[in-house]
Every structure is written in C-alpha cells, then in structure tokens.
Symmetry: C3
Subunit: 189 residues, 3 copies
Amino acid sequence: MIALDASTTRPLEGGASFSLSNRLFRVFWGVAWFVLARYTPPPLHGWRRLVLRAFGAKVGRGARVYGSVSIWMPHHLELGENALIGPGVRLYNQGHIRIGAWTVVSQRAHICASSHDIADPHFQLLLRPVAIGDRCWIAAEAFIGPGVTMGDRTVLAARGALFGKAEADSVYTGNPAHFLKTRQMRDPA
Amino acid sequence: MIALDASTTRPLEGGASFSLSNRLFRVFWGVAWFVLARYTPPPLHGWRRLVLRAFGAKVGRGARVYGSVSIWMPHHLELGENALIGPGVRLYNQGHIRIGAWTVVSQRAHICASSHDIADPHFQLLLRPVAIGDRCWIAAEAFIGPGVTMGDRTVLAARGALFGKAEADSVYTGNPAHFLKTRQMRDPA
Amino acid sequence: MIALDASTTRPLEGGASFSLSNRLFRVFWGVAWFVLARYTPPPLHGWRRLVLRAFGAKVGRGARVYGSVSIWMPHHLELGENALIGPGVRLYNQGHIRIGAWTVVSQRAHICASSHDIADPHFQLLLRPVAIGDRCWIAAEAFIGPGVTMGDRTVLAARGALFGKAEADSVYTGNPAHFLKTRQMRDPA
C-alpha cells in the first residue's frame, strides 16, 4: 500500500515521495492520534494499544506507548510483547520499524528508518527498515539510524547515535556509537 | 520522603518505581508549574523562584529559571546564587541535582540523575545524584548523565554528553565528552 | 541595526546583550510568526516566504520553510533559491546565518551563530556568523556551531555536531564531527 515510486521522486524540487492516498491517510492518522491519544493519562496503555491496532500497527500484548510518542505511519510499526515506548519518543517509520519484546525505548529517543541517496542529484528518499531485538534498552535521547539492526539484550546509552549493526548482549555508547562492553545479566532472583 | 523501594521495583512489568504519594505530588507539581510559571514572561524570575521554593526547591538569591524549564521533582533541586537555567532545559532529577553559583545551563540542555541497573533482569531504577560546581557553563543541548560531578568553572560544549567526572577549570566536548583544554580566565576588568 | 554593545554586556548578571529596540522587535516577530505561520499547512511555502521577507529575511525563489521552524531574528537570515528548512529546525541567528541554494536542513537540526567568551569573567556574548554552501544536506537533528563554514555539496550526518570548517564535496559525521568520506555524485539522469 505504501509504495515509493522512486523513479518520479524529486524531493529537492518539492516533489512528494509518497502517493496522495498515503499523504491523506497520514493527515487523518495525525488528527486521530492527537484527538484519541495525545493527551490521555499515562496509565491508559490499553486504550492506546487499541488505537494503534485500529490504525494498522502490530502491537504485542502488554506493550506500552505514551501519548506523546510520534509515529509517522502505524502500518510500518511492529512492537513485541511488553515493549515500552517512552514519552516524547519519535518513531520516524517511513520504512518499517520492528521493536522486540520487553525492549525499552526511553524518553525522546529517535528511531529513523529512512535516508536520502546522497550520490543522486535528485536526492531520492531511501526506505531502510530498522529491527531492534528483545530486552534491549535504547536510553534517553539516543538515535537509531536507517538500516540498523540490534541484537537481543543490547543497550544503546543515552544520546548514543547508532548507524551500523549492533551485536547482541552488548553496550554501545557515543556518536557515532561504538562497542563499550559486554552486557552481563544476573540470574533473575 | 521520596524513598525508592528498590526491592519491589519492576519497571519492565509496569511496576511503579515511586510511591503513590510521590506520584500524586508530581501530578500536582506539574499542574502547578504549568499554571503558575510555564507561560510567565521571561523577566519574572523572582516570581518563579518563589514558586520553586514553595514547592521545596532550594533556590539561591538571584537564580533565574525560565518558564519552559522542566523539573521532575522540586525537592531534589538545589540552585546556587545567580545560577541561570535557560529555556527548554530539562532537569530530570529523580535523583538529586545540585547546580553551583553563577553557573549557566543553556537552552535545551538535559541533566539526568537516574539510570537503570542493566545487569538486573528486572531493570531496577538507580538514583544517581549530579553535582555541578560554581561558574560552570553547560552549553546548548548538552547532556549530563547520572552520577556526574563537575568541578568549578568547567565548560561542557554544545551537544556534549558527559558521563564521568569532570575536573575544574576545564573544557569538555563531544559524545562521550572528553577533556579538550584548560579554561584560562582573564582577570575581571 | 542589531549592534551588540560588547563593553556593557553582563549576561551572568542578567544584563541584556541586545538593545531594547532589538528585544521589542523580537517579541513582535515572535507573535507575528506564531499568528501568521506557525500553524499554516505545510504546502503554504509561498505565504511563509512572504512573511519572512516582510520581516527582513533574504529568501531566494522557491525556498521552503516549515511553520514549526524557529528563527531568532529574520534580519540575520539569508536563504538561497530552493533551500529547504524542515520541520522543527532551529535557526538561532543572533549572528548571521546564510544557507545556500538547494541546501536541505532536515527536521530538528539546530544552527547556532553565537557563543560566549569563556575567558571573560563577564561571559560576554560573541556573534559568530555561519555560512552553509549550495546543495548541502544538514541531516536530522544535526548541530552546526558558531563560526562554521561549510563548502558546497557537503553532508553532515544525522545528529552530527560540527564546530569547525567543513570542506566541499565531503561527508562529516559524529560529535564532534569528523571527515568520513568524499561525496561522489552521479551525473543527473
């Protein structure tokens, strides 16, 4: 449904990268989220899951999404069970974003699943899906760039900016983010 | 008053990290700041000092806090004389934040005094106080992480992200922030 | 018109760095932009060009500025033909900012054309103009610091923070930003 007609896209000249029906749907979605969810009290996670699913997002059982989260296109979002998307997070999912079960995305982090072809004089938009594993932590105000994949249980520190593949069971930090150490977890009590 | 009962905290499962009275107080505080301060004209610093003190913050003489500043918990805030907290700054003081006299925190900087135990399968919240010295400058959109201490007269450059101890009379930059040079000050004219 | 009287500026003591007429003009400008442009629909770029020019900005033919862009002082802004200033961008132009033709500044990037003299006990404000070339790309949430000049066709990656001179035909990334590679562009089809 959300096809990107690359051959006719001229973003530099104001040409739309998405179809008219896509753009109209997004206006509708933006108004709907604003009215139905933006100012709902934090504990109403069940209600917001319902809104997200009604608009096409795949949302696992118990996932929690705050009202101040910004989602470009609900169809392009998949949240695992009990994933937590904190206040002010931006899911810029022009391309698809998948976030695993029990993963926490802290306040004002930004996940961006598109870029531009910088070798193309027309600056063509590129959709590059992002996939985050289970039990990860994307800490406050971190940034995940287009095409990133992150293994299970991995941490990206606050303000970290990750542009490549992140291995499982690791801690990354910095801009650009680099491997800091292995994440060792204790056994559950 | 703001005890954190670590042994029962299960943030991943939606368990509250703070007591009910803490949470009710913060709803009250948020509404109060919004009504009394959020849209007050910039020069009304005296009035905003009064509001902050009434809600439990320690605010030195002449300290200036803009209406767009976000403060998690006024009890956990201590500002020295003539400290300046600029527009859009976030003081995420789940743990205590102390900012010294004549220190400037520029627009949209973020000071964060808590983290999570990433070795704990329950992802326990950790309170880690932050202490900034006198005559420091936290420049625009910089980030100060949990547990940081910063010596007097030290500068963190714009967008810098500091996670460790910063010595006095120094300039730090980058993410993660590193020592750039000594700060030499001229004698006052 | 916007002279900065350096010898009498005491920002640490709450002294204004700009004249009363400057400050009154900016209150007027802020209200005008809010009323006339802030919530206009995205496609009304022609109307917003008109508003910007009426308030003293130099705006090239076809330049597009979103309503959520924040501009400190329109007199200090010069946009080349078909420049694109995306949603939520901050042009903190206490000093002058020039952005070249066909250059794209993506969402929530921040260009800051002033600093403080950290060797001065009075913390004097410093105006340091910024000049960005033609056909550059300042990607999402990047930061351009005071005094920066950037050659034509250069890219600053998402979240990059650039503090020095950037050569033409290059890609920079990181905080602080460093040279990553040469930008090779294909011939237009």
